[in-house]
């Protein structure tokens, strides 16, 4: 191997090894350690001060106590299940809102499409926090939504939406909508218009043509969009923290609290490991789907 090639491969390889792989191994190690009141707040710490025998003794101290704790305390299981439920429902809602928008974009006059695409992406570039913050002003008890509804005489008591799971759904749908629209639009725009004309010529109604041609051909976009929303939504922290209430258990928030409030690094690391194990299935499915889709296209 030539030196320049070696250098080319080794630079990003070592960087990712040091700042991605090694940290990941440390998380596993700390998940298996015990919490202690010290700095750093876990034991054992590996060191070569006592030689190999000391290292071996440290290894012997590792156990699954933190994981047993997660299994015993029902709150963690509830947080995991609730994260999956919230992410799944939010994904479905995003699809229902995103599909008509993506469809309309794909059907728009050609010289409009680029502008529409830019308009959909633009909010995605503005700060995530600001977008969530904007909804606090709308959803809170004396917020814009309640004010408008009361003025219109639809309700006479403010709706308590803020600090509920409903607010979390709104937040997720709003923040991740572009992730849904973009793959949907990509697959809808590729559909050959002649197929629909042919269906029409053969006496197919518009609705039937949509169901039998457009919908099946847009499925790759639907699947990709759903994964792109579902995967990050499971581990979401900011949205349940700012819009959800103390009753909204989600695992990203649990991990955060375990680490910053309870200062239990061992349990936080164990929560992280279990979260990743849950994510492996959708991630692998997503990657398979993308690969298959690429092959079909190319």
């Amino acid at each position: 191997m030539r030196t320049s090639r070696k250098f080319l491969i080794l630079t990003p390889y070592l960087w990712l090894g040091l700042f991605f792989l090694v940290p990941f191994l440390i998380v596993i190690k700390i998940a298996l350690s015990d919490s202690v009141t010290a700095s750093p707040p876990y034991a054992p710490t590996f060191s070569l001060d006592e030689g190999l025998a000391g290292l071996r003794a440290s290894f012997a101290q590792l156990d699954f106590e933190n994981f047993l704790w997660l299994a015993e305390d029902g709150i963690y299981l509830k947080a995991y299940l609730n994260s999956v439920k919230v992410a799944a429902i939010a994904t479905l809602l995003t699809l229902m809102i995103g599909y008509p928008v993506a469809y309309a974009m794909a059907k728009a006059p050609r010289d409009w499409r680029k502008t529409l695409l830019l308009l959909v992406i633009l909010p995605f570039w503005t700060s995530f926090l600001i977008r969530i913050y904007a909804w606090i002003g709308i959803l809170k008890n004396e917020g814009f939504l309640n004010l408008a509804l009361m003025k219109l005489g639809i309700i006479d008591q403010p709706l308590a939406i803020m600090h509920t799971e409903l607010a979390v759904y709104v937040g997720i749908v709003y923040s991740y909508l572009p992730f849904m629209i973009l793959p949907l639009y990509a697959s809808l725009e590729r559909i050959d218009g002649r197929l629909l004309e042919a269906a029409e010529d053969l006496g197919c109604g518009a609705l039937a043509a949509f169901r039998q041609i457009t919908l099946p051909l847009s499925l790759p976009g639907v699947v990709a969009g759903c994964f792109l929303v579902f995967i990050p939504a499971i581990g979401e922290f900011v949205i349940p923290d700012l819009l959800g209430g103390s009753g909204t258990l989600m695992i990203g928030k649990t991990l955060w609290l375990e680490f910053f409030s309870n200062r239990d690094w061992g349990v936080a690391a164990a929560v992280a490991i279990v979260l990743l194990t849950i994510l492996i299935v959708p991630i692998v499915l997503f990657q398979r789907h993308q690969q298959k889709h690429q092959e079909e296209l190319g």
Binding site: M1, I9, V27, Y103, K107, T126, L242, L275
Partner: protein, 273 residues
């Protein structure tokens, strides 16, 4: 071909765009509200902007955030471009599967896990937390995005151009610099901009990896937002929204002009031939 919008499509577009823009519009409008009460209009005023611009804590946080974003985006672009070249060009080498896994995994890793794992690393190796730890953390996850952006451009690049340069006696490095890099330059610039924005926007990973004296703007914003809606945050948000909007529109205009020029060049070339 359909030339006009039909009713159904027009309605879904209107509702969709209203849903995307109304919340931000409310923030912008009420940043000019004279009243301290955030949902009651009390007349036009720009006083909250003055208050934000005189707030040293915000300015200091903004300065740190920009510096981190600049350094981490540059690091991420270099590392991401190198990884893209490795993924698309290097062929097989020992550990390739692990490498592509490490490029892909950070894209789908929950932020809380990335933040926690990097913090645990910094504690384990005894690195003081602050500017550099946040920068390293941001560069690490941004480089994966940068690599995806550059890879897609590199994959569609006609390799025979580079082969021609090599045949004409170019060294691989200068062939890359003189032939490949100019062609993939738009992707490299997009990668830098994406990394820069990702870094500006990050709250979770920065909170895990920051230390005393390195509070970033999102961290400062987050602690204010937790206390509720306020006209100062509306003003600060409006400034940030304005900067980003101007940047994105400028980038897309430049992009469009470049495309048009390419088309013209292409037409001229075919006409000449």
């Amino acid at each position: 071909m359909i030339r006009r919008f039909n009713m159904f499509n027009l309605t879904s577009l209107t509702f969709g765009l209203a849903f995307l823009y109304l919340p931000l519009l409310l923030v912008v409008i009420y940043s000019f509200n004279d009243s301290r009460l955030v949902t009651v209009w009390g007349g036009f005023s720009t006083k909250w902007y003055g208050i934000v611009l005189n707030n040293d804590a915000y300015l200091e946080a903004a300065w740190i955030t920009l510096r981190i974003a600049f350094v981490s985006a540059t690091l991420a672009t270099v590392l991401g471009t190198l990884s893209a070249v490795v993924m698309v060009r290097a062929g097989s080498f020992p550990g390739r599967t692990l490498f592509s896994g490490m490029i892909f995994a950070p894209l789908v890793m929950p932020e809380v896990v990335t933040g926690l794992s990097l913090l645990l690393l910094f504690v384990a190796i005894g690195l003081d937390r602050g500017f550099w730890t946040i920068t390293i953390a941001h560069a690490t996850f941004s480089m994966c995005y940068a690599s995806v952006v550059v890879s897609s451009r590199l994959a569609s690049f006609d390799r025979s151009l580079e082969d021609a340069a090599l045949d004409l006696g170019c060294t691989p490095l200068s062939a890359f610099r003189q032939v490949t890099l100019p062609v993939i330059a738009p992707a490299v610039i997009s990668a830098w901009l994406l990394s820069f924005t990702l870094s500006l926007d990050d709250l979770v990973i920065a909170t895990f990896t920051s230390g005393p004296g390195s509070t970033t703007l999102p961290m400062k914003l987050y602690s204010s937002v937790r206390l509720g809606v306020s006209p100062e945050i509306n003003a600060l948000s409006t400034m940030l929204i304005g900067i980003v909007t101007a940047g994105v529109i400028a980038a897309s205009l430049v992009n469009r002009r470049q495309e048009r020029r390419q088309q013209q060049d292409h037409r001229a070339a075919t006409a000449a031939a």
